[in-house]
Symmetry: C3
Subunit: 275 residues, 3 copies
Amino acid sequence: MTNETLKKAIEQTAVAVRQMNPLVPSITNTVTINFVANAQLAVGGSAAMVYLPDEGEGLAHICQAMYINVGTLFPVYAETLPLTAKVLHEERKPWVLDPVAIGLGKMRTDLLTQFKEYKPSIIRGNASEIIALAGLWNLSGGSAVSEVRGVDSTDTVRAARDAAMALASWTGGAVAVSGAEDLITDGKQVIISKGGSPMMPCITGTGCSLGGVMAVYAAAADPFVAAITGAAVYNLAGSRAETYVKGTGSFQTAFIDELYTAQPSDIAGNPFILE
Amino acid sequence: MTNETLKKAIEQTAVAVRQMNPLVPSITNTVTINFVANAQLAVGGSAAMVYLPDEGEGLAHICQAMYINVGTLFPVYAETLPLTAKVLHEERKPWVLDPVAIGLGKMRTDLLTQFKEYKPSIIRGNASEIIALAGLWNLSGGSAVSEVRGVDSTDTVRAARDAAMALASWTGGAVAVSGAEDLITDGKQVIISKGGSPMMPCITGTGCSLGGVMAVYAAAADPFVAAITGAAVYNLAGSRAETYVKGTGSFQTAFIDELYTAQPSDIAGNPFILE
Amino acid sequence: MTNETLKKAIEQTAVAVRQMNPLVPSITNTVTINFVANAQLAVGGSAAMVYLPDEGEGLAHICQAMYINVGTLFPVYAETLPLTAKVLHEERKPWVLDPVAIGLGKMRTDLLTQFKEYKPSIIRGNASEIIALAGLWNLSGGSAVSEVRGVDSTDTVRAARDAAMALASWTGGAVAVSGAEDLITDGKQVIISKGGSPMMPCITGTGCSLGGVMAVYAAAADPFVAAITGAAVYNLAGSRAETYVKGTGSFQTAFIDELYTAQPSDIAGNPFILE
């Protein structure tokens, strides 16, 4: 892939989801669930959120792509999440996993262990989460002990490069490591997406909602291009929003505005480095 | 009812809830629960949300009206929702049902089937949801198979007219079908509420929160007038907000502002057609 | 404590949390969970929310302080909340309790009864909630019957003075009563924090998120100073935000902006009376 073919693919993906309005349900945490839904709608998707096993399964059957975030686990997830992921895998539906707070609690570890088999099309997390997931799945670049601090990373994006590549090689999909710059890989190539804003980690949910938006794009593109398109629109929206806001409250509002108004050519024009 | 008596009733309802500050609890989905509460507060109500059976029952006893939305079901709802609806029905408290995503999963179908007996004062949904609910309750105009796509409608508002009238005739209350224009009926008369904005479906929760606001108005008016007043303030707020916002983020903020600042006479002046 | 030593302590606390970025997890209601997290981030904390027993316990072990709000209880809380509060108490970690809607439902009463033993470092509630909690714990100033109406108070802040002092004497921490003015006590001294805005109760979550913010400050100061600092930044942000907003939607956005931009010296300068 060259810079030009990638830019073209990003633009086409952004155009396509606005035409398709794909149904991209989520099973996600209650903290940022509203932000996830509004971000998905802002880029052209249709959102639907559930908790129960047969509802996750039912949406997996009819969706174009799906988003699973293990943020605020409920007891019923022990049944819902493996069942849903299994259907997505069997029907070859693209799905995005956010392994948020990996290492906290037994259920989270059990679920994330099971997901190895169901090969999420895109894994999106911060550096510490990506390193810990590679460790949990016994892949190279991983760490046996999670260095996740609550929901925050204690590692740099570049430090997660090997883990990200190993995860992507295992799934055959893509892995996106979020941070000051974003690293996205399909296990062979690595893209660094630039831009964004230091205000993005100052509100809750820029990571979660990015996973939801990558799932929307995964309905219209292969996982690698979908992940890159998601990172591009997020970095574009963040860099634009920070120029005219007063604080983090207005930043969140402006950020959704910028997702909504971002033109496909501008998304494709967000700076990146193809390593 | 004539245009003038209806306008007067709308204005009186909007004035009354600001004076009463009625307690209007909700059992509603986690996606838009914050939006529901803030919309209810913006028009003059007091909000309170719960999940547990004895809490739903307790609030049903002390509330002025209540809102039940079957969006993101939890296992405990199998007990909470029928118990709460039963108390509301027995004590003749007005309550609003939003049958969101009808057709998805066994519990949703079971709950919505049971609600037939407890006759919600107002049923609010999109066209496909209203048609599917009439079908589930074996009423005319209904469809045996839900055409709901996630949380979105695949039918037009007018296509749900017969189903809406049949549902309202059964409950003795009102039914509101949300869409590009809103249809509200008490089973005899039909009102079309105009205005609104194409941006309303571009954010999550305009439908859910409208149900919550109709419940607030139902504390001060009969179900038909309450549903019309809710549709009027929503269409007014939507049409005003869209004139000065940049995207869907600022639209949500402006929409709440417009609910909060809407004068009763302006709400009554929002255009409608009494068919 | 004199006015000047208190002002200095407030300023130091506000500075310290921005330097520490303490991990302050919450177990809180789904209505305002996003607002709680964003408010905590805006003043300099790191947020993380959970529901499961071993996750609450795990976060209690690694956190600097924690926030527990009994707003929308789930069945699993019967195990999660006592376990988490027990660890916090045993490890002498500061924690904030919000006894929202005390009196509603059996589980809420059971949990709040158990919390007496685990002595929350700060208790924050409206006047009716504070009076009811003192009653539940058989302390002076309390009432055997909750006068809470949904989530709203029916008592004035001053009416809760005795109950607040009795609660603080029992816990050895601080109690904050929120209202038109805020009363904070450590059982010996009483502070009245001024400012704020009549728009604060017109949005949902100013109370909940204040509890979360007090928990952030409790990671860097004793409970009394932490509670006062929280009340000060809230009253400052509210009084500033109301001057330029159109309604309650933009008020919430502006309020987070003002939390984020508030300078420590301005927080310390917010008017208070040391009684």
